[in-house]
């Protein structure tokens, strides 16, 4: 059955994607692509368009609430000055927090950005995955409730808390007692993939720039993990020198030196050479920088390295240039000149957090 609303719905989606009625674009509140990532919680954006009206500005009015707390108790964060979030009249109203698995998230991402599926090269170890209802889970639909297990859990709890009475053995299951049948899939690695992240950590890359890298790489991770089982990830940071680090260091290091990009590319190709033969691996290299390389000579060396060592091995090489107040951004221009027509390379300029959306599209839109 086609619903009447579909027409309106499609129209809305087209507006959001900027196809029609571009003048409304500025009223879209997108929040962030990823607001917060706790253990399993991921906040996803529900874009809204608020038609302009005479309304009160944010944060002038405050409001009335109910509950405990002394004067001065913090209720929630307000709108960040100059931030993009649409301020609701209640604290924290605009963000929806959703419990999503990464796979679902990747599917959403794909649908949202209309990304093509990746065609892995080198179909080496293709195995089929099968679902079987052998597992037990704490969550599930009531129809799959496992009575015996639930009963046991309730019994356990009531005995351990001392509420069980043998003369009156009534058990009332609570949420935490419930157990459900769930399936387990036997999945084997299909095609191997490795992502090599490289980031410029020189002085000109500030917190904001790193935040952008963090968000963008999260989404790329998610998308690639969706396509490959068992993705390996390597991290390289560089200023004037390059070194391999773990994930945490990657995102939090701040150096102050200058920038020699070729160092990173050299290390990257060495890693590929030793650990990842291209016949067996789908290799993705991503490099983020503010585009301010040390010298033109080094840039030329980078291009040579790319062409001779890196590009022949990889599925895709992405260069994301994060706008910073210090960078000249020359590197992107040079790269574009040198190898824009190579389809193994994707270049993108990320001006601010809003640019991430477009940038992911440019990187992953090739289906490689």
């Amino acid at each position: 059955m086609i619903l009447r609303i579909e027409q309106d719905h499609n129209r809305f989606k087209q507006i959001i994607r900027g196809r029609i009625k571009k003048e409304l674009k500025k009223y879209i509140s997108s929040g962030e692509l990823i607001g917060r990532r706790g253990k399993d919680y991921i906040s996803i954006p529900l874009p809204q368009i608020r038609i302009p009206q005479f309304i009160y500005g944010p944060k002038q009015t405050g409001g009335v609430g109910q509950g405990e707390g002394a004067i001065g108790t913090v209720l929630g964060a307000g709108e960040v000055e100059g931030g993009k979030r649409e301020a609701g009249n209640q604290p924290g109203e605009h963000l929806l927090e959703v419990d999503l698995s990464l796979d679902e998230l990747a599917e959403m991402l794909g649908e949202e950005l209309e990304l093509p599926e990746i065609r892995p090269k080198g179909r080496k170890n293709i195995m089929s995955a099968k679902d079987r209802y052998t597992g037990i889970s704490r969550y599930g639909p009531e129809t799959l409730r496992h009575f015996k297990r639930t009963y046991k859990e309730t019994l356990k709890r009531s005995i351990s808390t001392g509420t069980y009475r043998s003369d009156h053995p009534v058990l009332i299951p609570i949420r935490a007692d419930k157990r459900y049948r769930s399936w387990k899939s036997a999945v084997m690695p299909q095609a191997n993939a490795v992502i090599i992240y490289m980031m410029d950590v020189s002085g000109s890359m500030g917190e904001e720039q790193k935040e952008i890298v963090r968000i963008e790489s999260f989404w790329i991770d998610t998308w690639l993990r969706h396509h490959y089982k068992g993705v390996e990830i390597r991290y390289i940071i560089h200023d004037a020198e390059a070194r391999e680090v773990d994930r945490d260091t990657f995102y939090h290091t701040r150096e102050s030196g200058g920038t020699v990009i070729s160092a990173a590319y050299r290390l990257c190709s060495r890693i590929m050479e030793t650990d990842y033969p291209p016949e067996e691996w789908n290799i993705y290299c991503l490099h983020f920088s503010d585009g301010d390389n040390w010298s033109q000579g080094d840039t030329e060396e980078c291009i040579t390295l790319l062409k001779s060592q890196v590009l022949p091995r990889v599925n895709l090489f992405c260069y994301g240039q994060v706008e910073s107040p210090y960078g000249t951004g020359q590197f992107l221009v040079d790269l574009k000149e040198a190898c824009a027509d190579d389809e193994r390379i994707a270049l993108s300029k990320i001006e601010n957090k809003d640019g991430i959306y477009q940038s992911i599209k440019e990187f992953l839109g090739r289906g490689r």
Binding site: L3, R4, I5, Q7, D8, H9, N10, R11, F12, K13, I15, I20, K21, L24, I44, L46, Q48, I49, R50, I51, P52, Q53, F54, I55, Y56, G57, P58, K59, Q60, T61, G62, G63, V64, G65, Q66, G67, E68, G69, A70, I71, G72, T73, V74, L75, G76, A77, G78, V80, E81, N89, Q90, P91, L96, V98, D99, L100, I172
Partner: protein, 497 residues
Amino acid sequence: MANLPKNLQELQEEIEGHARSFGLDFFPVIFELLDYRGLNQVAAFGGFPTRYPHWRFGMEYEYLQKSYSYGLSKIYEMVINNDPCYAYLLECNQIVDQKLVMAHVYAHCDFFKNNLAFSKTNRKMMDVMANHATRIRRYMDSHGVEAAENFVDGCLSLENLIDPHSPFIVRERARDREGAEDEKPAIRRMKSKSYMNDFINPPEFIEAHRKKLEEEARRKKRFPETPQRDVLKFLIEHSPLENWQRDVLSIVREEAYYFAPQAQTKIMNEGWATYWHSKLMTEKVLTDAEIIDYADHHSGTLGGRSGRLNPYKLGVELYRNIEERWNKGRFGKEFDDCEDLVERARWDRRTGLGREKIFEVRRHCTDVTFIDNYLTEDFCREHKLFIYDFNPKTGMYQISDRDFRKVKQRLLFQLTNFGQPFIYVVDGNFRNKGELLLQHKFEGAELKHDYARDTLRNIQRIWGRPVNLETQVDEKARRISFDGEEFEAKDISDKVA
């Protein structure tokens, strides 16, 4: 009722019977069973099966659809103010939920029928909405989807500029005070002997002069005579629009008026429905096996994040509070004057007027008068109400006070005009150049400036001539003007102060 399965039909009859026996009085209710997509569609359309085509409904649908599929929220009940009342049930709900929804719906329906704020709403809105949809579709066919939709966007940008009290008050009196008018400015005559009169004051001249004076008086006459809050009406009557555009604008206006009472009575209406579903369910309808599920869902309705004010909860607690006070005679001078806390706590005159009182309240009040008349200091303390403000130093919202008067004042401020600013048409012939002058009645909070400008732009498109808005920007009185090409902000603080 025909399309309900038999078991639900029986349930409906049962619950309707109970509701009636408690004294609820409602239009006939028609329940429809929908799957979640269908329900989301209806909800996106504001409760109606058909609305005019507009992306805004698609946006709402997307929101509901996503919220539903990620398990964030699901719509329990949807009911519209119409005679007969239409209400919708979600197909996959458990029986206990269906009961809850039905009980809830009957109370809403009683509220629609009996609350005075709704007394002027069109009870055949279902048909009206469908007609609106047809008309706008026709305009889309003849003027292009884009053109029509853009115009609708512009109109929606003004949909809050109505005067929700106007259905109850005659704003424009018929001009019956001809005789009482101020003395007309006299026509100058030179002194003359009577036989010379026609020469010194020639009749042609006198006549011309009189005409000129009249014309001047007419021009001086204010337009509109008094500031008008129904900006939409003013625009409909006085803007140089094409007929279809005028019609679209009046459609938007009519729908805004239809929905206005629901915004005016949010707390009362939801509180009333919650009060009655809880009463009906716990006293009449529930079976033993259902009690846990019911309690779970009921607490879901009344719960919420700590710190947030939940209209359902505030409403139902206030009704219960009123009922108790009138049952025990805790009202009137004697009680108010009593300062002995122990005696106050024990106060019980066994007046037993509670039930009667809440029915009276639901007939006469809107949220504003509900809070104003019945929110007491005791209630405020008991329910731990507080006000919070934005602290620019920390960038956080923080609890700022628990003082009863401040809480009440803030609550009333938020409810007055639904927390929307007051905007008036002051002059439709501003600068004597046919410009429009709007005034924002400043009450301590500034407008969202970028939105105000864009709204002004939309008004200008309708009005045709330049438009002006007097408001406050960064704590200074300003007149923002838009002439179709650029904005100008002029300092007018000396004039206002």
